[in-house]
Symmetry: D2
Subunit: 387 residues, 4 copies
């Protein structure tokens, strides 16, 4: 390995922009042991890829990902394509001896995810690292939540709520996108955003989801076909298409400790723009976080004096807090994309240290298995289904 | 009927205090068509009942409820005893030609509740009125929520969340009370507080819960026996008792319109003191209310100009708002107990007008049926169960 | 003195309704050492007074306050008339040997207030008590704030903010009322609501306001004359009148400890219905309260572990909290009017104990002196003016 | 001018890091008409400057700012040094024909600021642009606030509150830094953070501050000398130093329209980390923003239906909102540093368009004049002082 980490990124959509911020910003914010270099960006459309390279600061651009992952001057492959391609690219890249960062969800099916986890386990024996991109773990307030639970701040966990609510499909005339097509997206709200709720739960509690009972629901069954895309959606074209994924997922999970957790993923919660929320209730306190108030962690400490208890809004922007050493003085808020810089930091440090970065592909697979169990439970009348 | 409504209240616990506030305050706040008179309070313990009479302003006290409900000088019987006695007293009072206000839950079983609803339906033909005490309907913010949904402010309902979270049992050493004994209480969190979440959902949406899938959980199975009671709990005595009710209920309901609703009732949500919350998401907006911010209603109006949308915190303390004519200038907050005055107002007006007050016993029964279906679904591995 | 406290209330406006709640509710909520009896309500308009008596539960009504305060069967005189009459009634009542509760502000001028404080001091030597009605002191969250500051929870006080913001005059077509007429009201926002901000500051900090620099401003100089009154305002009649009081008061005070406090009183803060707010910043923490979230006290504890600090939202509805023993289980919210019950409790207990209830007339006078100093400072170009 | 804008940045402290983010990120987020190039970073300490260059992505580093501003291959000079050097560097850079971006405050004295504004006016005639770095104007929620006020959303302005509250000096043992030394910093809380409150007020209202009455206060007069610096503060060394600036500034301003505005700047508001807040109350509504909830704008719309009014929390992360086109889908939060990218965007676009970017040096001077007037008013016993 060179003194630099030479990165190739496959894909150039919205997630490509976000990952590029991470590669660009992390070395400026943190003292990294190896300097990442934004070497090549790869996409099928040469012109769009060239434009993305220019804009986001990638030195080269290319259209053939297979050729790129074979190049000797590439150390890391960062995959930001839709989920149906993750498996093939990641396995090939690992086989080619490249470290891999793969955007979530790990894959569109458990079978693919299992193959990827196997490949990653095998690669690890050769010193090759693999990581899946659940960046919300790296919002400082979320990392702090995990740390506090691990150190006993809320005692023994009694119950968990995790939900991810958006409303960008609430308008029945919002057009079809690839995210509403089961063949491309694997699932709907469940896999796209519910996966975050599951990963966060497993991350902050340190517990697995062992069995689930749930229901998936499509609320709007038919939509105008897409004209021009923008953001997560776009404008309506002519003709109508069939929504083949879930709009709403409601499920209950039993954690490995026996505690119950309730989950929700929806794109129909009017007025909720990006409300990823998690609350963990223990016998000694509780913690709550909401992405729409990204920098704050709410902490109820039952060891506080009686009559002085309640939720404390901790602004997680202090020097003591995770990742904050790289940023600004107290109270200077961070945003969504900082998680991508923290992801790069943790990946680069793990590669340098020769240790496995988290979340591993095995962790990504465990989320995939929960998603799969929810689909099976829903199909079986919400009966409890082992993950 | 006399020009006064002479009231007998059976019971003298915490709910007796709250109902007494209603009887005492409503005539001062509102122009009632008939003046209620606090005639008799009835309890098994003569001394405690006498003391309650003196303190709360009841003219007389008595120990034999059967004798009281036969008195000619009683027009209304207000029942605030534990749920296992509701059925017998209410049916007898209706048979004796008295209007009945019965605290929720209507009964401890569907069979009892059915008998009560039958008795009420029969009594109505004789001009006798029956009402069940879901007072949270009468918090002005909740009534406004119902009115806004009915008038189309949020369009067609897509999904509902309703939860009631408390934490007074989070301490595993909190002692046993009658509320933890299935024989006395019927059920635990489900019937005690989950019933409110169900009633609110049916009230604000105007929809019934048609089928459910859910799970009931006892988190702490054994507790110290009660020494001396205070508030909802008390101090620990000697010996230990078995908790025979649920501590946590998580369930999903399908409403009569087909929309899904998620429900939770828990006494283990650390830091949540009395968080009865409901959010209704429609295709044109959403409404949210939380008892811990009792006077505020949150309204997302998707008909507002793009870029100007979000949740508006409406302080429901203005002259335009339900029940506010009786109270203070704008912004002068109301509390928990005002719902009891509003309940008296609505009951007295219905009696005067010769119409049925809401919630009727039939509405109380419908909640009971949902509770029962949740218990059956939980026992059957969370399969969907018809209400 | 009889075993009962026989009360006469002079006045029957909005504050009469609120005081009546206090007299009616306090004995039901608390074990009072003497039972207050709502004996007589007095007003100039016989018909309206009779109606108020009937509605609010006063045994008798009368039109001649002088005659009533001379009655042997009256122990307490409660004054809820406009401020220009407080002095005469209170001094006469004290001279007649009656305990006096006088609604705030104590008077419309310092001279009147001084005479009242002198009369109260003299009466106290004869065992006669006098109290001024700053009821916001008795909101449990505010009382807790005072207790916490006194016990050192926030250390040494560095600065204070106190403001009272309403918006009921923001509409330039809202009509004239007596509150906008300097002859009747004494002052505008300053005396009506700024007085509360001053009293709260002095109460919770235990410090006096020693000197002030400020400005008074009339924003809308002319308004329609009042047609019919309702709430704090009413509907417009014909003709226009001149506003002779301040709409907005902004001032800085130096406390007796040397710390600075900023104050605001306004009726033009659009969207703020009844936002009485106070924040006290110490060297070991801070406390914040806002009437629009009446049951919550926000507490920043700098002795908490670094990285765990922030404002804790204490829901002041627990058994440990001031006055809560009389009310409901944890989390059952109180409202505006509970302060009036607490006022009655404290007054009755002080009379029974033979001690001076707070706030004394001397404390009321101290507020009046601050108001006066603000007016003088404003007239003198905002120069610092000794209180 | 070349097709690129070649930038030299003078200074390498905390603000240098923030400005570097802007230069690095803006071209990736926005389609800029000219591409900025991070050419040279300049600092007195060669080693530290080299390290900053490496870390933040500047192509070269240098120690002699005078030499750098004379280079032909530099187009823009970005000044992020302490305020006492702004004037000399900016005037020299403008004279050398370079566009200048100068961090706020423009200077430490009105005289310096006037010279700078003169130089900028003169340079503008030669097509050279100058801009002062009040980046909070470019938080999307703040820009939206300005746009909404300009378009009449809240009607005619009646009053304004603007405050900037921090607590990093609340600990009396926090050490001296250059920010507490009047010779280096010019003033304390007033100039450092109060300047932001003044600029925001003038920006969002479009009104100037015409006269002021205020008081400056030093709360802790002596502190330990600085050992090692970190963030805004550092660890204590040996010996003690005298604080020569204000810790707290409280002042009232009269705007050019006649409306009153209240201002506060403090570093002693315990629990407030970075609470820059502004509320503007108009006769048709109000707007409120707080940096600690950076992405949200609170809007009270008095044209909404009665009974439906209140503050709406607009999450300013939608495609319709200012600057959002460059970033993420709805609800994906931005942070503090995004303002620096927006600043670069606006500066580059203005240079390209040949127009003056805002805030101009004249606008920076106007803030300086307000600061100066506050100091004079404070020295003169808070009398009203013309700006």
């Amino acid at each position: 390995m060179s003194a630099q980490l030479r990165v190739a990124m496959i894909g150039h959509g919205f997630m490509g922009a976000a990952h590029s911020v991470g590669w660009r910003q992390a070395p400026a914010a943190f003292d990294l042991p190896i300097h990442p270099r934004m070497s090549v960006i790869v996409g099928r459309d040469a012109e769009k890829t060239a434009s993305a390279a220019d804009r986001w600061g990638w030195a080269e651009h290319a259209t053939d990902w297979r050729a790129v992952i074979e190049r000797d001057d590439i150390d890391v492959v960062d995959i930001v394509t839709p989920g149906d391609t993750h498996s093939e690219i990641a396995i090939a890249a690992l086989a080619a001896g490249k470290h891999v960062l793969c955007e979530k969800p790990l894959a569109n099916s458990v079978a693919e995810a299992e193959a990827m986890a196997d490949a990653a386990r095998d690669a690890a024996t050769r010193g090759i690292r693999a990581m899946v991109g659940f960046t919300y773990r790296r919002v400082p307030a979320v990392t702090l939540m995990r740390d506090m639970i691990a150190s006993g701040s809320i005692g023994s966990i009694r119950q968990v709520h995790a939900s991810y609510r958006q409303d960008w499909l609430a308008d029945a005339d919002a057009p079809m996108t690839w995210r509403l097509d089961k063949d491309r997206a694997g699932s709907g709200a469940l896999g796209d955003i519910g996966a975050h709720a599951i990963d966060l739960t497993q991350f902050v509690t340190g517990l697995g989801v062992a069995e689930v009972s749930g229901v998936l629901e499509t609320i709007v069954h038919e939509r105008p076909l897409l004209g021009e895309s923008s953001g997560l959606g776009g404008t309506a074209g002519t003709g109508r298409g069939r929504v083949t994924v879930d709009d709403l997922a409601l499920f209950t999970g039993r954690l490995s400790s026996g505690a119950l957790a309730s989950f929700e993923a929806t794109r129909f919660a009017t007025g909720r723009k990006n409300a990823l929320e998690i609350e963990v209730s223990g016998d000694a306190g509780a913690l709550h976080w909401n992405l729409e108030d990204l920098n704050a962690l709410q902490f109820d400490d039952e060891s506080a004096e009686p009559g002085r208890r309640g939720f404390t809004r901790i602004l997680v922007t202090e020097p003591e807090h995770p990742y904050l050493s790289g940023w600004w003085p107290a109270g200077h808020m961070l945003g969504y994309e900082h998680g991508f810089s923290h992801q790069v930091k943790d990946l680069v440090e793990a590669i340098s240290a020769g240790s496995d970065p988290h979340p591993t592909f095995a962790e990504g697979l465990s989320v995939q298995r929960v998603l799969d169990a929810v689909e099976r439970s829903s199909a079986a009348g919400s009966t409890w289904t082992t993950v």
